[in-house]
Symmetry: C2
Subunit: 251 residues, 2 copies
DNA sequence: CGCCATCTTGATTGATATCAAATCCGGTGG
DNA sequence: CCACCGGATTTGATATCAATCAAGATGGCG
């Protein structure tokens, strides 16, 4: 599966002078960069997992095509992410570039050996696997119980946080994916995504300043966005109420 | 997170004469068994992850309570499963016994050290983490794109497969969880779960033989169940159509 | 025997999908 | 430079599946 870099990626990204085996980023740094054009595939669902990849630049979508032809996007990959670790013999999804993308690859075997040998790498891999697992959990909660508006707000909020974690003080986020991608990721239709964004603009929560760039969204009211996302920041807040039973509401 | 044992668990379970560190099961085997009554909690979301657990007997639900009070069940734990591995400092969910349950625990630290030291344990942990990731992926697809009937059928089918994988030739599966649990796991309401099961009985796909035991469901037509589950067996079948674009349907 | 939790069934509503048609925008070629 | 084309997006009208609201039915258990 893919591994989100979170805060890590940025620190690591700056620190190229690492000894190769000291970090996952270092491990990939000597590999040649490969370029993917928009729409180009990195690998397909069902392919043998011969390589592990580091995304150097750009964004990819990872998805499965289900029997009726629909597409389910299970995640996006951003610069600093690593993909292909928590998989056995076959990829469980396809990966496709959304923007011009640069990646580095490592043979599966070489990667596994390096990680097995290094006391520095193992915790880093572990940490990323945990982050990835946590992200999938959150997505599971989103899909199983959130409304269209909550899903959109959660999605925007995650982007805003990624931005802030990356040290960027901007409140304009870039959404490199299309509305269709967002729909397939959030378990909605493209029409519902569009309508919901329109509604959020109407509420003054977000704004699309430059009409030429629907892929740039200004977050006008981050606090309200968090409210509408419908959970105390993707985390439990009023927890540990010692199992407040018998109060289970709708759904 | 929790780790499904799949086929592994059964082989391992028989082989108690292993040297302790040879298998995960062996690693736990010297720990005293602890008993949980129905409804009793093993740990709570937000607690520090001080222990890793092996489920020896029984079934647990793992879940999160979201801000509006609803409960999202993110998985179930069965005999042979291990829980608490792919987590950092805090549990991301609570775990609660659905049936009388027996578990063994290991201090987090002891577990990590044992795994770090053993060339036999590491692949086993890796394998289980991969299985878990695959399971969450499948759940994600289920929640993002399946109808109520497809969800129920998928759920029943998984139980049937677990049974078959366990060497049991029966086609009557036990569902130790309540209808509410199933609803919270499948992203439905209890009414929809109930209605959908009634409909499946009407179609002759399944049957509840003993009225006294709604928790035992006989699968009358496994083939049809798989059809209704709405995917070529939780796996892609007509894959690799070289990206049959521009045919994306509803949702 | 009768309470109580669990489950089932029925009637209605509502959010979102579906179907359909504009609108917008970048790119292309005249 | 401007008209046209096609993909992406938005907007509108309607349909539908599952949620909600509301009773019953069932079975375990004291």
């Amino acid at each position: 599966m893919f591994l989100s870099s979170y805060a890590n990626s940025h620190q690591v990204a700056k620190a190229t002078p690492f000894k190769e085996a000291d970090s996952l980023h270092g491990l990939f740094s000597r590999q040649p960069a490969e370029h993917l054009a928009i729409g180009q595939s990195l690998f397909f669902e069902g392919d043998e997992t011969r390589h592990v990849f580091e995304v150097v630049e750009g964004t990819l979508r990872i998805f499965r095509i289900i029997s009726d032809g629909r597409r389910v996007i299970t995640g996006f990959l951003y610069a600093g992410d690593i993909v292909g670790v928590s998989l056995k013999e076959r990829y469980l999804y396809s990966a496709e570039a959304i923007t011009p993308t640069k990646v580095r690859r490592l043979a599966r075997r070489a990667f596994d050996d390096a990680v097995a040998d290094s006391d520095e790498l193992r915790p880093e891999v572990f940490s990323r696997v945990c982050d990835e697992m946590a992200a999938v959990q959150d997505q599971l909660v989103l899909l199983s119980s959130k409304t269209a508006e909550e899903r959109l707000c959660t999605f925007l909020l995650r982007h805003l946080r990624r931005m802030i974690a990356g040290g960027n003080r901007e409140t304009t986020i870039e959404l490199p994916m299309t509305r269709q991608d967002m729909a397939d990721y959030l378990g909605l239709t493209i029409e519902t995504v569009s309508r919901t964004i329109t509604k959020l603009i109407g509420k003054g929560v977000v704004n699309v300043t430059n009409p030429a760039a629907r892929h740039f969204i200004k977050i006008e009211k981050p606090g309200m966005l968090a409210q509408l996302a419908g959970d105390g920041g993707e985390c439990p807040e009023a927890l540990h109420d010692l199992m407040a039973q018998g109060d289970r509401r709708r759904h």
